[in-house]
């Protein structure tokens, strides 16, 4: 949180609840992965909850959100129900995509969440197309695309940034800089570690911000969305954050220097927001409710998800063509 600003307690509590929803969802996902209910590679956003919480309140129904394999939190904040998401991850018939997408590649278009993507960089041009469509279909749609620090080194991301800037398309590029591209420090993979500076190369606005502070994120998102809605083109937001867990479940994280995660735990979104709200005099019970409410919601969602039948193999060949 920018030290000079105090959070508005009402928004602060809503944000704390939003952060907890994602945190608890991800913890549940981890449990289900470890217990075998979820199969395959799973990428958690624990520690990175403030981005989705800050951005998604600013989106309208018409807007289109695109995320990556690390997208559960973004989907949740966008309004995708936790039960359908967990069912998707657990390969249930009731999953968002009946189990076809899984943890890393589900989509929920009816909620304005137009898909995770598990090809690094691939989501950015797709989002640009959604914004392009917005220019032609009269919807006023803005597209928000989320990707990691490492994705900025991918050719497709570059092409998307330039394409959007050249045509002043309504896109907000959200780069979650969590310091690592998978297992490798981004600082070792670029000569200019201030990634938002790339925006200038494309002639677009760019900004680095505290990605662990929902209100800082919200303010920046609002500015970017206003610019986009006003036809002033795209923005690149670099959200500085850290994951408190491995790149994927099972990551031994030997590449992280000793103490790094411990330090990150001091500045992670929930700890900080809770402390700030407490300092403002928000009662503990209200703060606790944020967590408790989230736990209840996710617990129920998980129970509902797991109660549903496993996806039926007999349907696996449907919908390949129109």
């Amino acid at each position: 949180m920018s030290d000079d600003r105090l959070p508005d307690p009402t928004q602060g509590l809503a944000d704390l609840h939003g952060l907890w929803r994602i945190r608890v969802l991800e913890e549940k996902v981890r449990d289900l992965r470890l217990s075998g209910e979820i199969a395959g590679s799973v990428h958690l956003a624990i520690g990175q909850e403030a981005g989705p919480v800050g951005v998604c309140t600013e989106l309208t129904e018409a807007d289109a959100l695109f995320a990556t394999y690390r997208g559960h939190g973004w989907a949740l904040a966008r309004g995708v129900p936790a039960d359908a998401m967990l069912a998707e991850l657990a390969g249930r018939t009731t999953g968002l995509n009946g189990g076809r997408g899984g943890s890393a590649y589900f989509t929920a278009p009816r909620y304005g969440f137009h898909g995770e993507n598990s090809i690094v960089g691939a989501g950015a041009p797709i989002a640009v197309g959604a914004a392009l469509a917005g220019k032609h279909d009269g919807s006023g749609r803005i597209a928000v695309t989320v990707f990691g620090d490492g994705a900025l080194n991918q050719g497709a991301t570059h092409e998307a940034l330039n394409f959007a800037a050249a045509f002043k398309l309504g896109v907000v590029f959200v780069c979650e800089n969590n310091l690592y591209s998978e297992l490798t420090p981004i600082a070792d993979m670029v000569a200019e570690p201030e990634l938002y500076k790339r925006a200038a190369a494309y002639g677009m606005a760019g900004e680095r911000l505290d990605g662990n502070d929902p209100s800082a994120v919200r303010d920046a998102a609002r500015r970017a969305l206003e610019r986009a809605r006003a036809g002033q083109g795209p923005t690149l937001l670099e959200l500085m954050t850290q994951r408190l867990v491995g790149h994927y479940i099972g990551d031994a994280e030997q590449y992280r220097p000793a103490g790094e995660v411990e330090r990150a735990k001091q500045t992670e979104p929930i700890v900080r927001l809770r402390a700030a709200l407490a300092a403002e005099g928000v009662p503990d019970t209200d703060l606790d409710d944020c967590e408790n409410g989230a736990r209840e919601e996710i617990e129920q969602a998980a129970a509902a998800a797991l109660a549903a039948p496993i996806a039926d193999g007999a349907t696996a060949k449907e919908h390949i063509y129109a």
Binding site: N97, T107, I119, A122, G129, A130, A133, N162, A322
Partner: protein, 340 residues
């Protein structure tokens, strides 16, 4: 459902006299007119009207629904996917099929998956126009015939029109299709002869094949621009008493081999001719399906294609590789003369 037609002359309906490239232009005009959700974009397609002139006039007529792009194939294809997810029907151009290789991800990992993963909720009905093949002097990076790559990708449709009419019909079918369709054209055809093209009919359902020539002695399956050489070879062999049936597969996906299998039932001999190099080419798929079908052949089938080589720029070298009328005729003669 796929539909097979023959060249049986029909009472000539009202049509225009168009070259292949003009027919494709006419198809684009019709799509832009009838479907407000279409866009046409790509490198140099709008203001300059395309490097081959195929998209000439569209910008003037349809304004900013037709636009030029940066040299960014991943952004072109990716944005098409994204726009399609939102309900548009973008028609984009990849100037040479060879260039699709810088951005194949957007077709294979993105466009092809959209409908499947969303169970039909969010398909990506894009049309990708491209063109391919060798032409005199073209270098190794501008000469490949890559249809087999697209044909191994479930979720994509592929059509390779050879005549002006098929060019028009293929574009129209692709534009109306709810699947991603790759329309593979051929630059050596754009400025070809003018032929009568009917432009008033309804979109033809994808999947047609055309018997370009009926015959008794062998079934020759082919597609794309090389069809002309196959027909020339077949015409030439008439003098030798050889009578070939030539079936052109305009659509390779959906693939309808009914006509081919029926023909083989009569001829018992199979050749496939394509411009692509032989190994891993789609001719292998045709031979494989015929073998699986159990239709008895009286002699071993043959594939006639470019040998497994890169394509050299010098015409004298490329001509030694890309199947010529001579080489096709010689190999077909051998096939027909083979003792059962």
């Amino acid at each position: 459902m796929p539909e097979a037609t023959t060249m049986a002359t029909t009472g000539a309906p009202a049509g225009l006299n168009l070259r292949y490239g003009e027919a494709i232009n006419a198809g684009l005009v019709r799509l832009l007119t009838e479907l407000p959700e279409t866009l046409v974009y790509g490198e140099d397609v709008a203001k300059p009207g395309g490097v081959f002139g195929v998209t000439r006039g569209l910008r003037r007529r349809f304004g900013d629904r037709v636009f030029d792009t940066p040299i960014s194939e991943a952004a072109i294809l990716g944005s098409a996917v994204g726009a399609a997810l939102m309900g548009l029907r973008p028609i984009v151009e990849i100037m040479w099929a060879d260039f699709s290789l810088v951005a194949l991800d957007q077709l294979v990992n993105q466009a092809a998956n959209a409908r499947y993963v969303s169970r039909g909720e969010a398909p990506a009905p894009i049309v990708v126009r491209t063109q391919q093949g060798n032409a005199p002097g073209a270098c190794a990076q501008h000469s490949q015939s890559l249809e087999a790559l697209f044909l191994h990708v479930p979720g994509l449709r592929v059509v390779m029109p050879w005549t002006a009419q098929d060019g028009y019909d293929a574009l129209l079918a692709a534009g109306y299709s709810d699947d991603p369709v790759i329309v593979i054209e051929n630059r050596t055809l754009y400025a070809g002869e003018k032929t009568e093209v009917r432009i008033d009919g309804p979109p033809r359902p994808a999947g047609w094949t055309t018997v370009r020539r009926p015959g008794r002695d062998a079934t020759v399956v082919t597609w794309g621009a090389i069809t002309a050489r196959v027909l020339a070879a077949a015409d030439r062999l008439v003098a030798d008493g050889i009578d070939l049936e030539v079936v052109e597969l305009t659509w390779l996906n959906p693939l309808d081999l009914t006509e081919v299998l029926g023909s083989l039932g009569r001829t018992g001999r199979l050749a496939v001719v394509h411009e692509a190099n032989v190994t891993g080419g789609f001719g292998a798929e045709v031979l494989a399906r015929v073998a699986e079908s159990g239709v008895p052949l009286s002699t071993a089938p043959v594939r006639i294609g470019t040998p497994d080589s890169r394509i050299p720029a010098a015409p004298s070298l490329a001509e030694a590789l890309v199947p010529s009328v001579d080489r096709i005729a010689a190999q077909l003669t051998k096939l027909v003369q083979e003792k059962p």
